[in-house]
């Protein structure tokens, strides 16, 4: 194998293999209609995963996505009648960014453990969303502008897919071409060395969270537009799905590594799996078990322990 091919993430091969398998075995999987549906559903996960990846790169984690998008949808629907759809989307976006910025400040400047902080804000945001909405979903007045981020099309391709592609490109640029990206990697791989070489750790960590919030805010806009209502329980498993997608893609949770291509591959695997189990009409129980198996399995396949076995005991 050439060196260039070798540098491609293993998860991309897994994704391609899974795609081929599903296309051959699962009825209707390969039809244009299903592929478009798959891309539209995967787009939301891809955009939010871009945010999660940034946070994972600095060795932190973000759980609050799960209720940040819910709070954003409630805020958007409450703002909508007074201020119109554009302001509603801006409010949704800023809600998510505000929550992530709070996380970033607490993790960066107060040096609190990311797990505890983001689980805490997850609960606070869910409580706030449910309190604002009175515990029940609130409907938004339907309008073309409000539906556009989820259902609109540009040049025949749906808007969420465009936004996902743009997000992945921005992530690729941030991680591999920008100074900030270098700082994120350094802060994740070796905080002490990063500090000694002049990286301001607290500020870098805050930046990672704020940008993660921006990606997730975009996902929140599409989600709100898609459900057309404010839902206090909108996609509570989003943080788990994004973490799973990044991990399946090959980004270690210990920080210091990660690429946009890995995010794409991980999202593809998770989204295709969901899509295929639905097409095969498996009961929810089997869907859950399969998802669990693939998440752990895909991470295992890429782990050093398993690689060593395949490499014939050679130390890496």
């Amino acid at each position: 194998m050439t060196a260039r091919l070798r540098r491609l993430p293993a998860s991309l091969v897994v994704a391609a293999a899974l795609f081929t398998l599903f296309a051959l075995v699962v009825p209707r999987f390969g039809t244009p209609g299903n592929l478009e549906n798959l891309a539209r559903v995967a787009a939301i996960l891809a955009i939010a995963s871009c945010g999660q990846a940034l946070v994972l790169v600095i060795g932190a984690i973000e759980f609050s996505f799960g209720s940040a998008v819910a709070l954003a949808s409630v805020v958007a629907v409450l703002v909508l009648p007074e201020a119109g759809p554009v302001a509603a989307f801006a409010a949704a976006f800023l809600t998510v960014v505000a929550i992530s910025s709070l996380n970033g400040a607490l993790v960066g400047y107060a040096a609190l453990p990311p797990v505890v902080v983001t689980l805490g804000t997850l609960m606070v945001a869910h409580g706030a969303a449910a309190t604002l909405a009175g515990g029940l979903p609130i409907d938004a007045a339907p309008s073309d502008v409000f539906r556009w981020p989820a259902t609109g099309r540009i040049a025949g391709i749906s808007v969420p897919v465009w936004l996902a592609a743009a997000s992945l490109l921005v992530l690729a640029f941030l991680l591999s071409r920008s100074v900030l990206g270098r700082r994120l990697f350094l802060a994740g791989a070796n905080p002490e060395a990063a500090r000694l070489s002049g990286v301001r750790l607290a500020r870098t960590r805050l930046a990672a969270y704020v940008l993660a919030g921006a990606f997730c805010g975009l996902a929140a806009i599409i989600l709100t537009s898609r459900v057309g209502s404010g839902q206090p329980n909108l996609m509570p498993n989003l943080p788990f799905l994004t973490i799973a997608a990044c991990a399946v893609g090959g980004i270690p949770l210990s920080g210091g590594r990660g690429t946009a291509l890995e995010v794409l591959a991980g999202v593809a695997v998770v989204a295709m799996l969901n899509n295929a189990t639905i097409l095969l009409n498996y009961p929810p129980a089997v869907q859950l078990l399969l998802t669990a198996g693939v998440i752990v399995g895909a991470v295992l396949v890429q782990s050093d322990a398993v690689r060593r076995v395949f490499a014939g005991g050679r130390a890496r």
Binding site: L119, G120, G127, T131, G135, A305
Partner: protein, 322 residues
């Protein structure tokens, strides 16, 4: 350098403040009946938090405890319906098996704890749905035998309160008084040193996850006694509360500390806060905001000593602990 207080101090003070505060604001808080009621509600969280503490002690993390408890409660109810009282053992057994799987994935295969336990979280929900007719509650054919444990009275409290207290005390003695317990703490505080003195680090880590799973299984059993049924879709969100309880109780997220009694007090604090807010007529949604804020405050308290020493030494060296 910093003043040394017992690790449980923070949890004890929090607990005192909650009872004092709500007692002054609301009638009927300072009654024995309320105390017994909170103690009875506390049983599930106390077990989950104690197990979570074991995983945290070895620098691990278990977000599957809620789902494991739900699976265990379903297994226990199915077992009891099929085989009589012996069948209840299916609950703790299911918990132990999930814990063993977590331990195998994390300690032997070196999967990151969050991914491994996220996998088992989803898997447990799937399995519970599978064995329970698509997530329906599994009603016990003869619930009177076990609901007495949760709603009867023995020396003033429900029998399950005494049983849970006994189990947690056994864990405390095992951790602080046995060689295996010392190994657990040592592996958490310095895995490298532990390996150098001949401790099988991976085996100890796997053991911690088995304890965590077993305690989640016992929590599932308590859920059955409280509801008179197996609850395959219940106990969501308890994993967060269990982590919060352990951290408030003095457990360090970077491992090496196992304050069992502190964790019990931390769980007591969270449950008392929820009950107090409920008695005060606060909606459960707003109560959630309070608990979330408390979790973040707990993180401040937990990291305060490190923060103070860092400021004193003028260094900004900080490790994030995912």
């Amino acid at each position: 350098m910093t003043l040394r207080l017992p690790r449980a101090t923070v949890a004890l003070v929090c607990l005192g403040v909650v009872w004092l505060g709500f007692g002054l604001l609301i009638e009927r808080v300072w009654t024995f009946g309320n105390l017994a009621s909170v103690a009875s509600q506390l049983t599930v969280l106390a077990l989950l938090a104690a197990g979570q503490m074991a995983a945290l002690t070895v620098r691990g993390f278990d977000i599957s405890v809620g789902a494991t408890a739900a699976l265990a409660s379903t297994a226990a109810a199915l077992g009891a319906n099929a085989f009589g009282p012996v069948g209840f053992l299916a609950g703790p057994l299911a918990g132990l098996l999930v814990g063993a799987l977590n331990g195998f994935l994390v300690a032997r295969l070196k999967v990151q704890p969050i991914i491994a336990t996220l996998g088992t979280l989803i898997g447990c929900r799937g399995l519970a749905t599978l064995i329970s007719d698509n997530g329906q509650v599994v009603v016990l054919t003869d619930p009177s035998a076990v609901t007495w444990l949760a709603y009867g009275r023995w020396l003033g409290f429900a029998p399950s309160v005494w049983l849970v207290l006994l189990v947690v005390l056994v864990l405390a003695v095992a951790i602080h008084g046995t060689v295996a317990g010392r190994r657990l703490v040592m592996v958490g505080s310095n895995p490298g040193a532990a390996a150098l003195v001949g401790i099988d680090v991976a085996a100890v880590e796997a053991g911690a996850y088995r304890i965590c799973g077993l305690f989640a299984g016992l929590a599932g059993l308590v859920m059955v006694t409280r509801a008179g049924a197996g609850l395959p879709a219940d106990a969501g969100g308890l994993e967060l509360q269990s982590i919060a309880a352990a951290v408030i109780g003095g457990t360090s997220l970077s491992g090496g500390v196992a304050p069992v009694i502190g964790t019990l007090l931390g769980a007591g604090f969270i449950q008392s806060l929820l009950s107090g807010l409920n008695l005060a007529g606060v909606s459960p949604f707003s109560a959630e905001i309070a608990v979330g804020a408390v979790i973040i405050a707990a993180a401040f308290v937990a990291t305060a000593p490190a923060l103070i020493s860092r400021i004193r030494s003028g260094s900004t060296n900080q490790r994030t602990v995912p």
